[in-house]
Symmetry: C2
Subunit: 906 residues, 2 copies
């Protein structure tokens, strides 16, 4: 039988730090630390493979492996000189989960295992502290009851609170040993009632049950949700770590705490963390008591502090990364409970990477690889406009737990937050958060809690998510039932607007104005510079429709515009009447009349883009959406027409405004308008009369747009600005379609440029690849196209036969059974859509080896999609301006990971 159980402690270990797959992150860390002489409490790790075996074996650990566990326990008992269940000198252990990837708080932990009616007395005698022993026992019953016996935690809380009431105290610490004994009696009764069995007194039974409960917790709903969110595979399972308990709660010579070797918010090099005297570890992270900053430990326990500082510094050097550690001091003796690479905010990730490189611990390449591209999002968050803050009332202050500014309406529960988020931004306000709140945190723009510290659940999770977060805002009195909070005499109700600044910890009443972030901070700038060095020729452009966005894009480092959606300009208030006139025109003559009004407006837009992108290419797409999108909704018209015979004067006035027709004309024009809307109505607009299909039926539209583009280009070029127009024809499915539109654009371009004396101005004509047929016939299409741009939004919809808008109806089911690896509308479906993209690139370059190829779908800003685009040989990605730095970093990482440059052209 293969060995599945690995002992550690006492300066040696069966495993080591490289064995994360088998031992999990925590287990591997403990083995590594043991080997490095770090004082960890001894114990053993039951491997992740046992978790898999457990599930395959009908949720049971096979007897052979159980025997290995018992052997390891024996070894541990010898090491520490205590025995499990020993009435006199009982060994107490913790049983914790620990997967390959960190999933904080998502799975189960049981502490103080080994206590029963007898050993508790032994512990009381041994520690000379009966209250501690009873408190430990009641905690154990409660945790074990909840985790291993599936008893509702509230039922324990109910008993506990009743006893506090009886004892007339509000503080847990005020309960006496007797009170706690009474609680234990009630707890055991509860267990009997709920499980029909006595609370297990055999410590070996307890251990087996706890181990199994840890394995089972792999499939906790919150753990599953977390894995989905963090893209952690379901198959890998968790290890179970059994470790001798050490106690931070045996009196005032004891303490427990957590810390980071650097500030995980800012990345600054400082010894950062917090601790509690006379407490167990979970008290620090649970957010029940507000802990003290780590710096204060130096005064209270200088020796232990010094040792902690030294050990953690050497751990950082050992792991070459910022460490997140847990420690306990039992009667003045330091134990390291855990160390791991610390989670950090985006700004901290950037600073730590740059600093570590400057400190010589890692090189530039590794620094670039150290920051997850999605973390940059946090550096690109808006900050509050100072002036606007002054106009708002300052409501409260708390601990800044995750930086950035957020504005939204208050929601008092995760469920409310989800509902309200559909209507606009939400700030989730909770007394404290628990892993059960995760879906609400996910949708919230920011998080505010009344209790807890920098390591509380709210703080840890918000940082991971990059959400601005303030914790421990103690002045806030939350009435969760009444859905309101009170602070300084002010009452804030559900739905009221507040603004929170996760960087300063301040809360404001009302909506503050936010300012754009400065993406050129020195650490960020350094990292991006390094990233660009590795990125090489692979370009990053931005999708921008208006000059303002184009300017922002340049600021974020975009090297051109990959997609300008001309129709976005059509929806403007001053233009929509002409657009509608064009659509309602019954013949070409009247259509041209309306188009003539739009021409100067489009020309001005394009001129603005060309100016902003001096020297960089600008891809302008011709009209794409179906024409009915510019007209009133069919069902609105039908309903208004049905109501018309009985409409009041007021109703009619409203209709008149809505449809832009005089009240007196409604009776005649409403049915006419409906008639035209009916003519344009489509069963599947996504697959309908749009894209180049419009330009083919109404060549005068393409003509007008081409004229606007090249007249703008000529205008700007004459001012000495370098203009690089690329005209993109959308929704092409065959060479013939592109040829048809290309001829129109070419004719207009040549006419306009000749007239302007700019015959040599270089421009390109290309196409979107967003229909499978275009990909399948890319060799033919490339005969006409000078560039391809993958429109992966539509290509995903057509390739998967899946409407993005309609997918939401059943996406939940699809995520549950994991039909796709990730949301195909967020991350390119490489197994399906990716294949057709690769085919199109191959065929396109067959015909035209220097074909410029990029992507302009929303996937262009998704790191894994950027990596894909790089790998398959595209020349650039294009994404929203705020995601440009993310794409730059992702591209650099792709380039570093790429072993060869063979698949890159141009």
């Amino acid at each position: 039988m293969k060995n599945h159980v690995f002992n550690f402690g006492g300066g040696k270990a069966d495993g080591d730090g490289t064995m994360k797959e088998i031992l999990g992150g925590k287990g591997a860390g403990l083995a590594e630390m043991s080997k490095a002489g770090v004082p960890v409490p001894p114990g053993f790790t039951i491997s992740t493979e046992v978790c898999t075996i457990f599930f395959e074996n009908g949720n049971k650990v096979p007897e052979e492996i159980n025997q290995q566990c018992l052997k390891a326990l024996e070894k541990l008992e010898k090491q520490i000189g205590k025995k499990l269940g020993d009435p006199k000198n009982p060994l107490l252990v913790s049983v914790r989960s620990g997967a390959k990837f960190s999933m904080p708080g998502m799975m189960n932990t049981i502490l103080n295992l080994g206590l029963n009616d007898v050993t508790t007395e032994g512990l009381a005698a041994l520690s000379g502290n009966p209250r501690f022993a009873y408190d430990s026992y009641r905690r154990f019953i409660q945790m074990f009851g909840e985790v291993a016996l599936n008893i509702d935690m509230e039922k324990f809380d109910h008993i506990f609170d009743a006893q506090k009431k009886k004892a007339k105290t509000k503080l847990d610490t005020a309960l006496t040993a007797k009170d706690l004994q009474a609680i234990i009696v009630e707890y055991k009764k509860l267990v009997k009632k709920e499980t029909k069995k006595e609370f297990p007194q055999d410590a070996y039974d307890q251990l087996a049950m706890a181990r199994d409960a840890v394995f089972r917790s792999w499939w906790n709903p919150k753990a599953s949700y977390y894995r989905k969110m963090e893209k952690i595979p379901d198959e890998i399972g968790t290890a179970a770590n059994v470790q001798a308990m050490v106690f931070g709660n045996m009196g005032d010579t004891c303490a427990t705490g957590v810390g980071f070797t650097r500030n995980p918010l800012s990345g600054e090099k400082e010894f950062w963390g917090e601790f509690l005297i006379n407490a167990q570890g979970e008290d620090v992270v649970a957010g029940i008591r507000t802990p003290e900053p780590l710096a204060d430990l130096e005064k209270l326990m200088p020796a232990a502090y010094e040792q902690l500082h030294k050990i953690t510094e050497s751990l950082e050097r050992h792991y070459r990364d910022m460490q997140d550690f847990e420690f306990t001091i039992e009667d003045g003796t330091l134990y390291m409970l855990q160390t791991r690479n610390g989670k950090r905010t985006g700004p901290a990730a950037v600073r730590v990477a740059v600093d570590l490189c400057h400190e010589g611990l890692i090189d530039k390449k590794e620094a670039v690889m150290r920051v997850a591209p999605s973390q940059l999002d946090q550096l690109l968050h808006p900050v509050f406009d100072t002036a606007s803050l002054k106009k708002l009332g300052e409501l409260a202050a708390g601990i800044s737990a995750s930086p950035g500014a957020a504005v939204g309406r208050v929601a008092f529960s995760a469920d409310d937050a989800v509902v309200m988020a559909a209507g606009g931004p939400v700030i989730l306000v909770r007394k404290e958060t628990t892993p059960d709140d995760i879906h609400g945190m996910d949708v919230a723009k920011g998080i505010l809690t009344a209790v807890g510290g920098k390591s509380s659940h709210a703080a840890v999770v918000a940082r991971g998510m990059g959400r601005p977060c303030i914790v421990g805002a103690g002045s806030i009195q939350i009435d969760e039932h009444g859905k309101k909070f009170t602070t300084g005499g002010k009452v804030v109700k559900s739905g009221d607007w507040i603004s929170i600044d996760g960087t300063t910890g301040k809360v404001y009443l009302g909506q503050a104005v936010t300012n754009e972030p400065d993406p050129n901070s020195s650490y960020f700038g350094t990292l991006m510079k390094w990233a660009d060095e590795f990125r090489g020729k692979f370009g990053v452009r931005a999708n921008a429709d208006i000059p303002r966005d184009a300017k922002a894009a340049r600021l974020f480092g975009a090297e051109g515009i990959g997609l300008c959606r001309t129709e976005h300009m059509f929806f403007a208030e001053d233009r929509i009447p002409y657009v509608q006139a064009m659509i309602l025109a019954r013949d070409e003559k009247n259509r041209r009349k309306a188009l003539a009004k739009l021409l100067p407006m489009q020309r001005a837009d394009f001129a603005g883009l060309f100016k902003a992108m001096d020297g960089f290419p600008v891809i302008i797409r011709t009209l794409d959406p179906p024409l009915h999108e510019f007209l009133p909704k069919r069902e609105d018209l039908m309903v208004d027409l049905a109501k018309f015979p009985h409409a009041t004067a007021k109703d009619k006035k409203a209709m008149s405004e809505k449809y832009r027709m005089p009240v007196g004309e409604l009776k005649k024009q409403l049915p006419e308008l409906l008639h035209r809307v009916e003519e344009l109505h489509e069963f599947n607009p996504m697959l309908g009369h749009r894209g180049c299909r419009l330009g083919i039926t109404y060549p005068e539209i393409t003509e007008m747009q081409a004229r606007a583009i090249f007249e703008a280009a000529a205008q700007v070029a004459k001012k000495g600005i370098k203009v690089m127009p690329e005209v993109m024809i959308p929704l092409v499915g065959s060479e013939k379609e592109l040829e048809n539109q290309k001829l129109i654009v070419q004719r207009v371009a040549e006419e306009v440029l000749a007239k302007a004396g700019l015959k040599k101005l270089h421009y390109m004509i290309g196409t979107m690849i967003e229909i499978p047929r275009a990909a399948l016939t890319a060799d033919e299409i490339a005969r006409q196209a000078e560039f391809f741009s993958f429109g992966t939004n539509d290509l995903t919809q057509t390739t998967m036969g899946l409407s993005r808008d309609d997918y939401t109806k059943f996406s939940g089911h699809y995520e549950n059974i994991k039909v796709f690896k990730a949301d195909p509308f967020a991350s390119i479906d490489q197994g399906g859509v990716g294949k057709i993209i690769e085919l199109a690139i191959k065929l396109g370059r067959q015909t035209r080896p220097d074909l410029e190829i990029g992507i302009c779908g929303e996937h262009g800003g998704d790191p894994s999609s950027v990596e894909f685009c790089y790998r398959v040989g595209m020349n650039y990605v294009s994404c929203s301006p705020y995601r440009v730095p993310i794409a730059r970093l992702a591209a650099a990482q792709a380039a570093i990971s790429d072993k060869t440059e063979a698949n890159r052209t141009a």
Copy 2:
């Protein structure tokens, strides 16, 4: 300079019968006949290449080629001993189009060219028949005016009719030479007025202009339409044939006629055709005079008849096919004007092919290749139920011109027919048809004309189209303006129902009942037997949802059911309430309740199919359409709800019936229903919550359907009938989806079959391939699928990003610029969709070499698509029952054309 002009006549020719590409069908035929010693009037052919050069050269024939023409003309003049423009002995010629493929009546012809003021007098003197000369000249001016000078024909008719009125006659033949001279004067005035030039008197000018007009007529709208319909390429162009005129209208020793070596309606071996004494060829086909049957010629001109019979019989042996010929007898001398393989009805095609094989002229293989699969459609047309005809009044009788029975509403113009056809079947009723009516004939179920014979335009075109047609129903008085016709005192108005029997020539008032055709006639049966011999293992199945269709399918030779759409059963009046209850159910329990009601109904349906298909496989597809299709329309509900506050009692009653809810409940239930309908509303239903996506969200639906299938299978199998169920999961895009549904079906199947003691009953589970992603991941999907069936309707829509329902909005534009080779919803788009099909087959067979692969989209009955399916290695096609014989024949032809059997498996 390459030679582009080819002389023929006098027992020799520059070209020959193999040169159709260059000489066109007519020119090649004339050359071939000349060489074979057939007495054709001499002349020369200007090649199709000149047509292409003409268009490339700015609609001009280059001077070099013009010189070749003049040289050929000189040769012709020598041969026949007359000179063009000679005042005494003028050569008259015809100038006719003639492309590689026959396009009867679609392009221009000019006769009597060479006549002018002077030569007409010469002709009068030479023939001793001034009336004939003037009639020829006025005909020539009219034809030339219309064709070469673009003068409206009606303007000539107006002059002609005015002269008839003046002469107080209704017959053309009653006009005197003087009358005709007066007409010529007026005609020339008209030409002067319209063209600002005199009518050209120079015969050489006339010839050049006529030649160019023939080339230009290649792009006549009707010619373009015909080519589109018949899939004739636009690039090939037409030749121009210049041929000495011979005259059938020089008195009663002259005649002209057309004929077939076999009956083109039935295929019977008889000398079939018609002629007119003292007439020009166009009089026969124009339908102005009703000609006599060819048999009568024997009595009138026995020698010429005998010669004609002999020559045409030898032509048939020479070409090894039924010939369609034209002849003229000038003063008792026979000239053959044309011969070609004759167009024929479907039944005739079958009989001629079988007879020719029996006669030893062709072998079985060639016989099978001789019948276009689409022609079989005509053998599968319904016939009238005799009893039902008795109840209808017999309105009129005419000449049976194209067989088959048709029922429809009367339309009096092609445009009316097009409009009315959208609302139901139409019979086009015209005095006579012209090529301008072709779009109306295309949409009509049948055609009825008042004048004309078996070779009239209506008859020829209708046979080609396979439309039932009656011509020359002389009792019918048509008032086209008043949109009615009168016959025997009865008035039939536009929109009235009539029934016509193209086989008997009888017209009935009202709607007759039609009976299914007998596809097992002896000729048909023989041909299909031969076809099946060549078809080999390649299967043909039918799409059938109900036992009745399944029985019809067997009769037509289907070897199984390729697609049973279970949802078609859901729309039945007795089921839709349960279907709606299932959809409206808010939880699984209530959904199961409604499903339980549907189970026995579905079981009975499936049992019927299994019985009908004894020993053949039956593919049943699980529920496919989005659920909202089973509920009332969203906009109907919105409008009714808007109207509700002011609805009358009558309105409410109507709503109550429409929505199946009590009047008193409307106020409450209407908004609730709308709410649910809104919930289910989709932006793009084609890409929405349907197919396997339903089965995944509502596994109980799949479960019920699987239960119905296997309970039915068990029931039928126990009666000793061989049952081969194949369960097909629709809209699969990934292996996971199929696996999910497969597990449900397997579980139910095993449970039901075990219970029935039929554990060994063989069944299969497979999937539709109708989404590009399924094709791209076919290797993965084949791990789960035992068979693939290409759903080419949806696969075409998704691959092309083109909604079939919405394509109609711009398909006209797309056909005009030829974006696709053919309608992609009728014929598989081999250049795009075909590629992804081939990929899917390759990937699927990689994983599972014995994968059963077929097609069940509507393309399965399209001959060119069948050929494609065969070629890419499918195992079968499935199509509508009535197209099964077409598919069998198409498959046989594919097998014969296929050089190797290498790509065939299983």
